[in-house]
Symmetry: none
Subunit: 296 residues, 2 copies
DNA sequence: TGGAGACCATGCAATCCTGCATGGCATGGC
DNA sequence: GCCATGCCATGCAGGATTGCATGGTCTCCA
């Protein structure tokens, strides 16, 4: 094959179905995707895609090379992983995928310590619940509230984080104080946009807000805190965040907090990479030192 | 990984050990190989090669990605093969015009490989020097020792084939050994009926037989080989044929063989049809694999 | 010892590729 | 109907990549 890179374009187009979407994921212009895929078809002498009204659909020929192409992708990832594993330098970028609360409470403080010793290590923190694929190397490291099981991933428990319901002082003054377990009918809720799927402990916390009206939905933790702090409603926050903000009060100060385990996920091959090892060590140190705060 | 194609360069350099050799195999300038491999190293953040006096040697990091890179290569081959296999037109007859020696040494072995994968492809091999007109579609493909220039034909060099003078052991025992360049007066020659017009290197070989008596003339290579093997005279044969027959000996074993380039000629617009592409690929694979044998 | 041959680094010019812009074509909401 | 949105084809200009040329190092061999 003249140009292996064409397979990368082929695969992405097969997944994205349109030139435009594939181009965005590949970070090139869509004309480039079209041209390279056409060239690939010409080279192979086979029509790989049917141009239908709803996008590019694989032909039989395209379908029949898909598996091999994915195999190739897997090997490409392997190449990358092993190269990364061989890299002992304490410099370069580490990409971390984490829930925003974990990013705030764990990753950034850990990074601050790490930066003192190794200023060459850069962090690319991708918060949000969108599950970046560690296996496909969309991130080097992930912090998750629910551990995935799969293949070559190394998983370890970092800490457990406390969550509780918070409201602003004046919100609590203006509303009839809720009773534990009695529901929040008549209350306003500040909700995270996407649910923390797969974290049962956390689910039980948000479930208790079910009866409340959703006054605010946001997909940014900062907005969430501000919403609660501004008296817009009751919200579930990590204790790190809630306790640190003087404007916030726990709704049930006497109840124990909800604990959710935080898991570190990393690909087996990159565990030896210098900068990644260093960051993992910093994360663990941070979790040890701040265990009390994190657990609430 | 930003550019999968870099892996192809990496692998080739790992095998070839020098930029120059790798570049020749990849059909690019060696500066390109150097630059792309360097870029790859930069991207991975790992030094893959040690630049030693005797070429590029894999570092530990390079060694550790080699297996995955080879895996990737295997998948690339799979992609290609399935694309070929998926083309529904991979059946029917391909008509090939070739000199008998090329047919024997290249076309038939290539066809054997091809037949494993695509048993529905049939070959119609028309040997002989009569120039079938590709342009007029008297054949789909031609293998020639002299490239025609004309219009819509696609021409590429397949390999170079070695020719040498052969005789049987007992013929050599019975005759005064000829001296290189001194002519063959008093010898018997086994000649191909029609001359290889247009292949100067070959002409020089047969020219040296000018002084010999023509003991046998034949227009079949099989007859030619048999004639030489039976001690009827000295004949110019491809090294493939001559070296493979235990009854034959090179007349001048110490002289380098005469090399004649073998050209593949195909009409531009049939280049894309599946069965023809498949055969071309098989021909090229055969020439690559058997290059040493073909060159003598 | 010196010259040929093989190899590699670097500067520069031509080429190829990419991205942008325009325009055409669908779909869907108002 | 009409506009907004999303998609793709094609022409064109800028820029990245390539190949070539020069110059240097090393080895081998006469």
């Amino acid at each position: 094959m003249a140009d292996w890179d064409a397979v990368r374009f082929f695969l992405e187009l097969a997944r994205a179905k349109t030139l435009a979407r594939a181009a965005r994921r590949l970070r090139v212009d869509y004309t480039t995707v079209g041209r390279r895929v056409s060239a690939f078809e010409r080279e192979l002498g086979a029509k790989l895609f049917e141009r239908t009204p709803d996008g590019f659909v694989l032909t039989d020929a395209g379908e029949s090379i898909r598996a091999a192409a994915e195999q190739m992708e897997q090997s490409a990832v392997d190449v990358e992983q092993r190269a990364l594993g061989a890299d002992r330098r304490l410099s370069g970028t580490v990409r971390v995928a984490a829930a925003e609360s974990a990013g705030h409470a764990v990753v950034l403080p850990a990074m601050r310590d790490l930066h003192q010793r190794h200023p060459e290590i850069r962090l690319h923190l991708q918060t949000g619940l969108a599950r970046l694929d560690i296996a496909r190397r969309e991130a080097d490291l992930a912090l998750r509230f629910a551990p995935p099981e799969s293949g070559d991933l190394r998983i370890r428990r970092l800490t457990s984080m406390g969550f509780a319901l918070y409201a602003s002082e004046d919100y609590l003054a203006r509303h009839r104080p809720p009773a534990p377990g009695a529901g929040f009918a008549g209350h306003d809720a500040v909700l995270f946009d996407e649910g923390f799927r797969g974290a049962p402990a956390f689910a039980s916390l948000t479930d208790s807000l079910r009866d409340a009206r959703a006054a605010v939905r946001a997909n940014s933790m900062l907005s969430l805190v501000e919403a609660v702090a501004n008296g817009l409603g009751v919200g579930a926050l990590t204790c790190c965040l809630g306790d640190a903000d003087p404007r916030l009060r726990r709704v049930f100060p006497d109840l124990p907090v909800q604990r959710v385990d935080l898991w570190l996920v990393v690909h087996a091959d990159v565990q030896r990479t210098g900068r990644i090892r260093a960051l993992i060590a910093a994360l663990e140190a941070r979790c040890r030192k701040a265990a009390a705060v994190l657990r609430g």
